[in-house]
Amino acid sequence: MAKVPVQFTLNGSEKAEFIESGTTLLNALRDKIGDTSPKGGCHQGTCGACSVIIDGELRLSCLTLAETCNGADIKTTAGLAEGGVLHPLQRAFLDAFATQCGFCTPGMIMAAKVLLDRTPNPSRDDVVEALSGNICRCTGYEPIIQAVLTAARANSQNAA
């Protein structure tokens, strides 16, 4: 199988790789580039563990072919912390015990980040809707919802 070049921005850094045609973005990120923050759960578009942000929109990296991302701006949970300081969402997930096994967490945080970027003061229903494509089998969701609401409050206090 011929290899094809792909080039995109990942968490602010330019990345260029040769990949096999038909490689999913999830596999390219994890196996070629070494960003293992997106998780491969179902590979069917059901669990949301592979969620990443492509050009500002939440997408599933397991159903996205890497070749279709040429020139794109891709963000993953691995790029959220700055200088060793956790992003408010990461901090809130830790503080609220919103992570147990942790497998769904990067996808949850990506979904929550898109929500807070567009809706800085979301209602509880907004949070539930934003996370509706992400499955967690540990927490029962309530700590996750509370963590996102807490992060939103922390953001708005910092902005004030």
């Binding site: 590979h43 599933l60 159903l63 494509g133």
Partner: protein, 264 residues
């Protein structure tokens, strides 16, 4: 996975490439990449088209034309497609809605394809390079259809004449037990002058509830008058059985949910 992806700037060139055996069209990826991930070895090559016209939404003179690559998210946020927003929002979670396309939904097997149910109730036409096909005929022949769908067209429904309901066990989002879309025109005396009702999950693809449509004509939307239409609703259906629900269950609950939709 070994999949060869070919990218074309025009539908014409992609249609030619699509004739090769084992080749499928890549839209949002939620069907075909999912199939490949699942181990469907019949998919060996993918083609896609980058023509921006496929992502265009055009609304004028009461008619809408949606390019095949228009996503569910784009429909849900479009101010002039508010009537269709509930159907678009019923598809998946936010990430799926950013990817899943109008064209792909026409091919989604039950229990998926809820947006195609809405399009069937709206009597949409499906556009390919070969021309326009009524959606009912298109859905019937979709297994052998090879021409790339470029868009769909339909008359925008009047406010309140279009109703959509998706029933799922998981809240707020889950796979369909069934979905129902209804386009109803009421006469001046509030009786049903015309009815077009489409059902999802009541066959392997969206179908019309023609017996219920006929039984509704001349009725007012009251529990007593719609009862014969509800009793007739399962006629001609062949519901799917899957982990969400059995065929028996779907047939049993269809009249209940159709009643709720008509009385809402």
């Amino acid at each position: 996975m070994s999949l060869a992806l070919q990218t074309f700037s025009t539908v014409k060139d992609a249609n030619a490439a699509l004739r090769a055996a084992g080749t499928r069209y890549l839209g949002g990826g939620t069907l075909v990449v999912r199939a490949a991930n699942e181990g469907d070895v019949s998919v060996s090559s993918l083609v896609r088209v980058t023509d921006p016209g496929l992502s265009r939404i055009a609304v004028s003179s009461g008619k809408a034309r949606l390019g095949a690559s228009v996503t569910m998210a784009a429909i849900a946020r479009h101010p002039e497609l508010a009537a269709l927003a509930p159907a678009a929002r019923a598809i998946g979670g936010p990430a799926i809605r950013n990817m899943a396309t109008v064209g792909g939904n026409l091919f989604a097997p039950a229990p998926y394809g809820d947006f195609a149910v809405a399009l069937l109730a709206l009597d949409a036409t499906v556009v390919t390079e070969d021309g326009e096909t009524p959606i009912e005929a298109f859905l019937a022949g979709r297994d052998t259809s090879r021409a790339i769908v470029t868009g769909v067209g339909f008359a925008l429904p009047m406010a309140k004449s279009f109703r959509f309901l998706k029933v799922s066990r998981v809240k707020p989002k889950g796979v369909s037990v069934l979905s129902i879309a209804a386009l109803l025109e009421l006469a001046a005396d509030d009786t049903v002058a015309s009815a077009r009702i489409a059902l999802g999950c009541m066959a392997d693809r969206p179908i019309r509830a023609t017996a219920a449509e006929k039984a509704l004509l001349g009725c007012t939307l009251t529990p007593r008058e719609i009862a014969p239409a509800l009793a007739a609703a399962p006629q001609g259906t062949a519901p799917i059985t899957d982990p969400i629900a059995s065929a028996w269950y779907r047939a049993e609950v269809l009249p209940v949910h159709l009643g709720r939709l008509l009385l809402s």
